[in-house]
Symmetry: C2
Subunit: 288 residues, 2 copies
């Protein structure tokens, strides 16, 4: 490269680069200067490119872009899922749950094939992130192990750290804080812990998990958030199959509601599926 | 929308949409028809748009695009990280590791802050995926719990499922296969298991983990792959701190090599960091 003869990409090339750069960094503030330097262009060009990209993203329902003025300003891409697509993801989940052998021993519900598919988990994560995108989440928290993949992706879309509570069974080599919780699986009291370094007072925490049944695990995580004097933003799970009396004390959102209904004819339990409580709320975060 | 008057996006708008669509679906085959239908345009327009996008992606080192002809053909975006950026990611990791209190009791090395940052994990995952992108990986496998976030993202970039082995401590409600392994943490024999439904014979498996020390956990996972008559593609870890005699029997790639060196003056162990074995190999997968 010769000084004074730096390569100047054309507009088409700039907008491919800028849109890819933003999509790759969801919820992160990117300074205009980054683009001006890299694409060897003026601020007005970047502004014009961003206007076009914003237009296409909103028209095509790919999320939105917000620009912030000033020296410390820049642009942020928010990967908001359109309400209609949110509903499609919920329905896709119900469709998947209606197929295959789902009811395990002890009337547990099998979600393994869904939770090990990164494309489905990615869609679910984006939907969840959409609902909390303007809530300034600092940390996405889950309990080992089933929810970790999902929590990682939600955290990526929210530009937050992800942390997971461990059951007391594992030995941590660091200082921890722990709480007791009632394990839904065995109806007994367990202990879950989080390392001291993982969460700070006043940090804003979103709890994410795969499944809620009696709410004991989620209640434990809420207690952990309190033990760190952090702030709970919300609890969001993929599926709920609530025990009637226990969950009532817990506020949470779910994508799918799953009930076990006994079929008198076949003498077997069957799944009754419906869209979860998340869809009863306002369907889109406010764009201000 | 009125028939015959469908909205026809301009070229600028088409390329923003197409590039975003592809970046959002790494390693997945997308049919041209998807774009023709959505953007209300001819196949030649899609072809021209893809040529431009391919050019920009390769020029800007954002990965590559391959087109496959025929009725079942289409286009795939491979999120290949340029060798120079791969090295930068390795160096960034070394820089992070050189800061803070890293040496824990028992000379364990603290990676928590790195593994809970989704943006760093995303970069590491993309680097790892780059190295195996044309290896037709069906499943990315890890051991609970530390590697799960990373494995999820590697799987997403490779369009593979992600699965994790559990230690025998957890009670699975499904049929499992299990193997014994020598736990590096306690120098004792443990048992790890994988559910029958998670892996099939002949599937191609990439093992991913956060850290390798005596190789016992990775060897256990390799034994599990064999127990399922699946095919091992490779073993890739973030950090290696190998015990000299044990790891020698195990072939694996690492991003960072970490050694503990005793500083006679301060009477303390210190970290000696270097780029790992991954960087000794050919630096880029062949683009055919």
């Amino acid at each position: 490269m010769v000084a004074g003869h730096r390569y100047k990409p054309k507009r088409n090339e700039r907008i491919v680069y800028i849109s890819q750069y933003l999509v790759d960094r969801p919820s992160q503030l990117v300074n205009y200067q980054t683009f001006m330097d890299h694409l060897n262009c003026a601020k007005t060009s970047v502004s014009e490119d961003l206007s076009l990209i914003k237009l296409v993203f909103e028209q095509q329902r790919l999320g939105t872009i917000k620009t912030f003025p000033g020296a410390s300003g820049g642009v942020v891409y928010y990967p908001i899922v359109h309400p209609e697509e949110q509903r499609q993801i919920g329905e896709k989940l119900m469709e998947m749950l209606s197929k295959g052998h789902r009811i395990l021993q002890g009337n547990y519900i099998y979600l393994g094939d869904i939770l090990q598919n990164p494309n489905i988990v990615d869609r679910i994560a984006r939907l969840m992130a959409s609902r909390y995108i303007y809530e300034q989440v600092d940390a996405v928290m889950t309990m080992e192990s089933n929810g970790i993949g999902l929590a990682t992706l939600v955290a990526r879309y929210l530009d937050a750290k992800f942390i997971f509570a461990r059951t007391g069974k594992t030995t941590s080599r660091e200082a921890t804080r722990s709480v007791e919780f009632v394990s839904g699986s065995y109806h007994k009291v367990g202990r879950m812990e989080l390392e001291e370094s993982q969460l700070e007072a006043k940090e804003r925490v979103l709890i994410v998990d795969d499944f809620i049944r009696n709410g004991g695990t989620c209640q434990g995580m809420i207690d952990l958030v309190k033990a760190f004097e952090a702030k709970l933003v919300g609890v969001c799970v993929v599926g709920e199959n609530p025990a009637p009396d226990i969950v009532r004390t817990l506020a949470f959102d779910s994508l799918v509601s799953i009930n076990l209904a006994f079929n008198e004819e076949s003498r077997q339990y069957e799944l009754e599926l419906a869209l979860g409580s998340l869809f009863e709320k306002k369907s889109e975060p406010t764009i201000d």
